[in-house]
């Protein structure tokens, strides 16, 4: 048995033991996401349009992550709406930024890993870099959207007496707490990603100027910033989505 299989078994046992049915749901959603991502990579490698695969795949990833948290229908639909809107906002930002920063593909630091590989492939690395940057933000966006929607709908149900203004103020306060912790989760994830490269930079005695202009450094920093922006955008988008839904449900009545 390999390490991956052993860890999978341990994870499943712990999730079932500690999380019960919800834990098993979380375990399944993780593996569904693995499957979706692997299928996306295969399709991109088969030269399907990168952005088409990205949009469809990203939507499925968001749906799996949001639905698997097992909220009620109102909460889930609000969280889904929010995460789709935020994803589109991020995509609209990432595409021009990617082209401007030219921080995609590989650099001299990767030469060992690239040995024997031909870089002249049919798929532009700009598109692959943009896809990677967007996908890395999605988990954080979905997590924040679920937390925000759950909190807002709970306030909505409990606070019948609250005026709409009071409800929004309470939701803003809650959202700020959520962003505060979510931003940290994202930060440490990216620090872990950057660790090996950072140590290599130190070992090679790169100067500050070398580091802050390096392709691979810039691409990590931009990914981190996109993810933080995604988490932050969840707050206003959820509140707007909620207001919009309230207004349209009133007008249908």
């Amino acid at each position: 048995m390999g390490v991956t299989a052993a860890l999978t078994i341990i994870l499943f046992s712990l999730m079932a033991l500690i999380g019960g049915l919800k834990g098993i749901g979380a375990f399944i959603s993780l593996w569904l996401n693995v499957a979706v991502l692997f299928i996306m990579i295969t399709l991109i490698s088969l030269s399907f349009n990168v952005y088409a695969v990205l949009l469809i795949g990203a939507s499925i990833l968001l749906t799996i992550t949001v639905v698997s948290t097992g909220g009620d229908e109102d909460t889930t639909s609000l969280a889904l709406l929010t995460s789709f809107v935020v994803m589109l906002c991020l995509l609209v930002l990432i595409v021009p930024m990617g082209k401007e920063a030219m921080a995609f593909g590989f650099a001299v630091e990767s030469s060992e890993a690239l040995e024997g590989l031909s870089l002249g492939i049919r798929i532009p690395f700009l598109q692959l870099g943009n896809a990677a940057a967007l996908l890395a933000t999605l988990g954080a966006v979905a997590e924040a959207a679920v937390a925000m929607a759950t909190g807002l709908m709970a306030l909505h149900r409990h606070g019948q007496t609250l005026t709409n203004q009071g409800l929004i103020a309470a939701a803003l306060d809650l959202g700020r707490q959520i962003i505060g912790t979510a931003v940290n989760t994202v930060l440490f994830g990216f620090l872990a990603d950057f660790l090996a490269l950072g140590i290599l930079f130190m070992k090679l005695h790169y100067s500050l100027a070398d580091i802050i202009n390096a392709k691979l450094f810039t691409s990590t920093v931009l990914s981190l910033l996109y993810a933080i922006l995604g988490v932050v955008l969840v707050l206003p988008v959820t509140v707007l989505g909620y207001k919009f839904r309230e207004r349209s449900s009133k007008s249908t009545k």
């Binding site: 052993a6 593909g105 890395a136 999605l138 933080i228």
Partner: protein, 371 residues
């Protein structure tokens, strides 16, 4: 309401102005760099045909004649260089007019483009994002930005230490970083004098240690079967230490997030209903944990794996099979994801445990005092 709208508007303008000024600064700061920097004044691009590899990947190739004005050297003021790239742009990239590039000069005096100057893009973007954070977070912004800044500062400090002492065990070094980061983050966000801060610190450190011990045990029992250290990227020293260090750091934020949620809820529930017994409290803690751990797993999974997409696609296009491509590019990320997920699940019982131990002791102590 009106005044707050005006205030926000002024604030938005202020953010944009500062972002613009930062961008401007990086357009004119070439004298701060030792390496020669040139601004591209003219580019002519020529198609030079195409290139085919053994896997029948055909890419168009290009050659650019680039005229540059040197910004931080007296001599020469102007020069011409040639820049080659292909349509995939995996390593070499085209330049465009107005861009600033770093230049190298060979011993024979031959100039060539080293890399594009990128700090003028991401630093202003960073300023913009920080501005948006302050705008959206309002009164909470100071603490969040502070903890972000301190953590990044600490991380840089420890990276620098790893360069200073190249023989030190990376894993222990970054364990120390993790402990410091945990205390600083939670202290800044929740307050150093709060009892719950230290309950959460205890929970986070215990969970992290437990998770890594479990991972190390599995690695040892299975003789690292299925961990392809040779395929880890940018390894400069012991890859085992590096993998463990990466795992500690990666899982830390998520564990803090979750432990904070569980413990904060337990403290507030305890305050509202002091009569709840330990079992009832444990059930509540477990419910809070169940709500979030699925989503947290996916956050880390996507961060760890998404980065590998370009290399994975490159492997496929170079005629490699799925199993080998997985082994070389995705297996390390999956192991990291699984260990992190185990940590995220273990956070639930450990947080509840520490809360019960510390809270219970606290109550007993109070009772004794009253008697």
């Amino acid at each position: 309401m009106r005044t707050s709208t005006t205030k926000n508007l002024i604030y938005v303008i202020l953010i944009l102005v500062i972002t613009g000024l930062t961008a401007l600064f990086f357009q004119v700061n070439s004298n701060l760099y030792k390496q020669p920097i040139g601004r591209v004044t003219q580019v002519t691009t020529q198609a030079t045909g195409s290139q085919v590899d053994q896997f029948k990947n055909r890419v168009k190739t290009y050659q650019q004649t680039v005229t540059l004005r040197l910004l931080n050297r007296q001599q020469p003021t102007r020069l011409k260089v040639t820049n080659y790239y292909d349509a995939a742009q995996g390593m070499n990239q085209p330049v465009k007019e107005g861009q600033q590039v770093f230049l190298n000069q060979s011993q024979h005096g031959h100039w060539q483009i080293d890399t594009i100057k990128r700090d003028g893009i991401w630093v202003p973007f960073l300023v913009l994002i920080a501005g948006i954070l302050i705008l959206v977070l309002g009164p909470r912004a100071k603490r969040t930005l502070c903890s972000l800044g301190v953590n990044i500062g600490l991380f840089i400090l420890f990276l620098w230490l790893s360069g200073l002492f190249p023989n030190v065990n990376l894993f222990y070094l970054f364990c120390f970083f993790s402990a410091l980061a945990t205390i600083v983050t939670l202290g800044l966000v929740l307050g150093f004098k709060q009892e719950r801060t230290w309950t959460i610190v205890a929970a986070v450190l215990t969970t992290t240690l437990l998770t890594l011990a479990l991972a190390a045990l599995v690695f040892n029992l299975l003789n690292n079967r299925g961990i392809y250290f040779e395929h880890m990227e940018y390894t400069s020293q012991d890859p085992y230490q590096l993998l463990m260090a990466m795992t500690v750091i990666g899982v830390l934020g998520a564990v803090m997030d979750e432990a904070t949620d569980i413990t904060t809820t337990l403290y507030s529930v305890r305050q509202e209903n002091p009569d709840l017994n330990r079992k009832q409290l444990a059930v509540i803690g477990r419910q809070v944990g169940q709500e979030i751990f699925g989503a947290l797993n996916n956050v880390l999974f996507l961060i760890f794996i998404a980065e590998q997409i370009p290399m994975t696609v490159l492997y496929f296009q170079n005629g490699n099979s799925w199993p080998f491509t997985y082994t070389a590019n995705l297996s390390i990320g999956m192991i990291q994801t699984l260990i992190s997920a185990i940590g995220i699940v273990l956070t639930v019982p450990v947080s509840i445990g520490w809360f019960l131990v510390l809270d219970h002791g606290h109550l007993k102590w109070l009772q004794q005092k009253e008697n």
